[in-house]
């Protein structure tokens, strides 16, 4: 403001006035041209987006046709959903009438605050595997309806690779070790087991398979919730075994997890521990007839996730929400979701014909074991990144000191967020 040239004060005020008018006009235009937000009867929150969301919307269409109840779906990020729902319920307002989430302990803590409706009488409890219902049951009230199931069933392989090399699927742990030795002996094989890379989750998935397989599913649960220490004998035994397999050279150098699929296919590696979604990757995807898996023998659990539908008690549309819950719990709805591929239904009445044969195998296996949460996903935080880092170190140096490794993990453990 050194010189007095330029716009006068009156001029500036005119600019201000003009600006205010423009912005107000913008507001009015927007207000008039935007369609009023639809007010559907029910609102559903979930983590889904993209294809998963499209699949769900298709299933919802059937519901809307059958009942005439309009439903809108809003997809959220993990942390957003974990914050939005408790905040709403704490505020005494249920914006969501139904929420679909894969965290049983979170559901139970919501139930503990009396935020959820008991859905026991809305479903036929005989149609769901007990293990799925147990984790959302408290005081004989059930708070979640199992809907979709995804899991990490075991080691994937090319069936023709096995037949060509006279290999058989192991049914005991000893047979498993023999298998690893046999595969390693084959010409052209660099390592028996492919190791995936990424930020570290493929290695942690594999490690957890051993924790559950050798230590039992309860061990995994105890580790998650702090009822067991990482430096206990049970856990150390698992890691000792894992380290010995690593030292025997049975695991490959970690590489891009999707690229490893091709290497399993061409015989560079023999088997690959992965989640069932791996069937969507080439060359598996186009050759599903030639793809098989087997769980770590004698295991009693598998890491995975079950999506549960829950109903906040404060919903303003209890009747309609109940109808939606009943629909989601029905074989009909679940069959639609399954038909679109990639996951398994929780309802036992969904016909086998709805699945691709490999999806069916995964499902049938998952029904026979207890599904437990993924260890590092459940604990999260610094534990997860430490876990990944330590495993990467272990894969590179299998002779490293296990006591230090386990102590580091124990130090980073903190109570799971959900």
């Amino acid at each position: 403001m050194k010189r007095n040239k330029g716009i006068s004060q009156a001029g500036w005020m005119a600019i201000v006035a003009g600006l205010i008018i423009i912005i107000a006009a913008m507001g009015v235009v927007l207000y008039l041209t935007l369609p009023a937000p639809e007010k559907p009867t029910l609102t559903v929150f979930s983590l889904w987006s993209g294809t998963e969301e499209e699949n769900f919307l298709e299933a919802l269409e059937t519901f809307e046709e059958d009942t005439g109840i309009s439903v809108r779906h809003v997809g959220y990020d993990t942390l957003e959903l974990l914050i939005t729902v408790p905040t709403q319920l704490q505020a005494g307002v249920a914006i969501a009438d139904v929420v679909i989430a894969p965290w049983p302990s979170w559901i139970l803590s919501l139930a503990g605050e009396d935020y959820l409706t008991n859905v026991k009488d809305m479903i036929d409890t005989t149609k769901f595997p007990e293990t799925y219902l147990d984790v959302v049951t408290a005081d004989s009230a059930i708070y979640g309806v199992p809907f979709k199931v995804s899991g990490k069933p075991g080691f994937w392989y090319r069936t023709s690779f096995f037949t060509d090399n006279d290999l058989t699927v192991p049914t005991t742990y000893n047979e498993f070790e023999t298998l690893l030795a046999d595969i390693s002996a084959i010409d052209g094989v660099d390592a028996a087991i492919a190791s995936g890379n990424g930020v570290g989750w493929p290695l942690s998935d594999t490690t957890e398979a051993f924790i559950v397989g050798l230590g039992g599913y309860q061990l995994q649960l105890d580790l998650i919730f702090g009822d067991e220490q990482f430096n206990s004998t049970a856990v150390k035994d698992v890691f000792v075994e894992l380290a010995s397999l690593l030292q025997a050279g049975y695991f490959s150098v970690p590489d891009d997890f999707d690229a490893q699929v091709a290497k399993v296919w061409d015989g560079t590696y023999g088997i690959y521990f992965q989640g069932s979604f791996i069937t969507a990757f080439e060359p598996f995807a186009s050759n599903l007839d030639d793809v098989g898996f087997f769980p770590l023998p004698e295991t009693d659990g598998a890491t995975g996730a079950v999506d549960y539908a829950i109903m906040p008690a404060l919903t303003k549309h209890a009747d309609e929400a109940q109808q939606l819950i009943e629909f989601l719990a029905s074989a009909e709805a679940q069959e639609i979701m399954v038909g679109l591929g990639g996951f398994a239904a929780a309802h036992t009445d969904v016909p086998d014909s709805a699945y691709s044969s490999i999806d069916l195998e995964v499902l049938q296996f998952l029904r026979t074991v207890t599904i437990v949460p993924d260890l590092d996903d459940a604990i999260g935080g610094t534990f997860q990144t430490t876990f990944w880092d330590q495993l990467k170190a272990l894969w590179v140096t299998p002779t490293m000191d296990l006591d230090t490794l386990l102590q580091t993990l124990q130090d980073e453990w903190s109570a799971p967020s959900f």
Binding site: W12, V16, I23, S49, I95
Partner: protein, 287 residues
């Protein structure tokens, strides 16, 4: 001083000027590059962006990003902008009025506890949002104003008052008081004096407050995410993280969304820059 000395000094001055100009323009380049980047990214297709927006071998500008951001399925910016306007405009004008009334009485009236009250109010301007948000959350729930724009507007208005009252009081203090005194002698009420005489003279100060408050409320995120939850009520700042997503980022759409959201406060700043800067310089410390 000898002539040689003068020449040497002039040379030194010239070098200094060149140096300062170089530094100044280098600095401006560094500061503007991020904005340049996001503008580029908003009009170029994703593959070009991933190759580096500073590369111009392939240049196929497109407005797709803006369309997708405007009509985004989960967080459409069309609605988010409207929502932000609905909140920001009242949150700008209400506190100005309230602050002006209050500041005037601090400047012109003498009453017990005046200085103490004033000091307390001014001290409140350094209170961070975090220090008040939990009780505010509970208050809103009890008033039935949680997830309601009225609640948010009230909170923004209240938080604006401390610095606005300070600013306006200082402004009023230097306004010559004779006209008001004359009107008082003529028998005008205090309200009339305030409304008819003082306010018109205060317009430049009000312009500063308008600029600062509008930008502040528009840019707010913390109050918004805690007090506004329904998807269709979300404000512009809440829409942006949703569009970002988590694993895969569509830079084209995200940049377009960012530009849409920031163009409004930038426009206010550019148009009202003189008042905006005056406001900050006068210690209206809304950082």
């Amino acid at each position: 001083m000898s002539r040689l000395n003068i020449v040497a000094r002039l040379k030194k001055a010239k070098r200094f000027t060149i140096l300062t100009h170089v530094i100044a323009w280098a600095v401006s380049l560094i500061w503007i590059i991020p904005f340049l980047g996001v503008v580029m990214a908003s009009i170029r297709p994703l593959p070009e962006i991933l190759n580096g927006w500073w590369n111009f071998e392939a240049f196929n500008p497109t407005l797709r990003g803006f369309f997708e951001a405007w009509n985004h399925p989960t967080a459409p910016l069309s609605r988010a902008l409207l929502n932000s306007l609905i909140v920001t405009i009242p949150s700008t004008f209400i506190p100005i009025l309230v602050a002006a009334l209050g500041a005037y009485s601090f400047a012109r009236f003498k009453f017990p506890t005046r200085d103490f009250l004033f000091l307390t109010i001014v001290l409140l301007q350094t209170i961070p949002q975090q220090m008040a948000i939990i009780p505010i959350f509970n208050i809103m729930i009890n008033l039935g104003l949680w997830n309601n724009y009225i609640g948010l507007i009230l909170v923004h208005s209240a938080f604006a008052l401390p610095w606005q009252i300070l600013f306006l009081r200082n402004f009023f203090s230097v306004l010559p008081v004779e006209v008001e005194e004359a009107a008082r002698i003529d028998g005008a009420s205090y309200f009339k004096i305030f409304y008819k005489i003082v306010l018109p003279l205060t317009l430049p100060a009000l312009a500063s407050l308008t600029a600062l408050q509008f930008v502040w409320v528009w840019n707010d995120f913390f109050f918004a995410i805690i007090l506004i939850s329904s998807p269709e009520l979300k404000l512009a700042t809440q829409a942006v993280p949703v569009i970002k997503g988590r694993l895969f980022i569509d830079w084209n759409v995200l940049s377009a969304a960012s530009i849409i959201v920031m163009i409004i406060p930038i426009a206010i700043y550019v148009a009202l820059q003189r008042y905006y800067v005056k406001g900050i310089a006068a210690g209206a410390v809304k950082g």
